[in-house]
Symmetry: C2
Subunit: 143 residues, 2 copies
DNA sequence: TTTTTAAATGCACAAGAGTTGCATGTGCGT
DNA sequence: ACGCACATGCAACTCTTGTGCATTTAAAAA
């Protein structure tokens, strides 16, 4: 069998632990995001679930509900589309990692090591508390 | 007189130099952006011009046309709204400065001094060429 | 100054992302 | 196995942005 029951159960547990019901649509949603290595758009998730007969509104509501429940993180990378990624077990919602969006092909990459210089940290502190860093440009495949 | 004719003429010249006709709607648009100290949204410009009888579609078209002509820069800061700012005379379109968006009040600040650490530069180069930096968080007024 | 014409405008309508109201269906605690 | 709050489906709706087309106008030519 391809779907190991253990991983399905772990997904169920994760959803229930967040105070939500483990419905088929939510299982599929979280599994999709767990297998993806970059944030997925609203539409990508909805389209994929549509073949299982899941309504667009349901897909959107689940994504938002799971975000509110602390399971997902919603990011907006500047192309007028919301993207979602799973928040790992230990991870907190606040400590999100930087993202890179290719403005040509739309590919998103997660970055771990990107930081601002000390001087930049200070300059930005003067304005507010930075919780998110987003870089945009052209990825190497699009040069 | 408040509207110094010289500045109006300079705006006209700027627009014509970009290969566009200096229409009243465009004069007003560019003047607005020139006086603003942070990028203005599509809607902000359109609403302001509406009192002069300028159509919303015209306002949107002008913003996009002037962007294409290299007079303006269009940025998307993650709230599903386009913002525009003038590109200074010497400035090129490519070298945009970083922005900070307060996710609470929506205020946008332009940053000049923010840079990535050398290590971060290297890490991001591995993925692509970064042309734009966006920081999000809570501005000091919203803490 | 008048004429000419391509560019710009106004109006109405359309597309895409995301949301919401409401009746129906279902997970899951008892 | 039962019941109820929660979740879903469907349709209509909002909000931002873009488009088609007839009319007007900036600005170059005469």
């Amino acid at each position: 069998m391809n779907d190991s029951p253990s991983s399905t159960d772990s997904i169920k547990d994760t959803i229930r632990a967040a105070g939500l019901r483990a419905t088929p649509a939510r299982l599929a949603t979280l599994q999709m995001l767990r297998e993806a290595d970059s944030p997925l758009t609203h539409a990508e998730v909805a389209d994929r679930l549509a073949v299982d007969g899941v309504d667009k509104a349901t897909a959107f509501r689940n994504l938002n509900d799971m975000t509110e429940a602390g399971l997902l993180r919603r990011t907006e990378l500047g192309d007028h589309v919301y993207r979602f990624e799973e928040i790992g077990p230990g991870e907190s919602d606040a400590e999100s990692h930087p993202h890179f969006l290719c403005t040509v092909c739309g590919t998103v990459s997660c970055l771990d090591t990107v930081k601002l210089t000390a001087a930049s940290e200070r300059a930005s502190q003067a304005i507010g508390e930075v919780t998110e860093i987003l870089l945009r440009g052209r990825c190497n495949s699009c040069k």
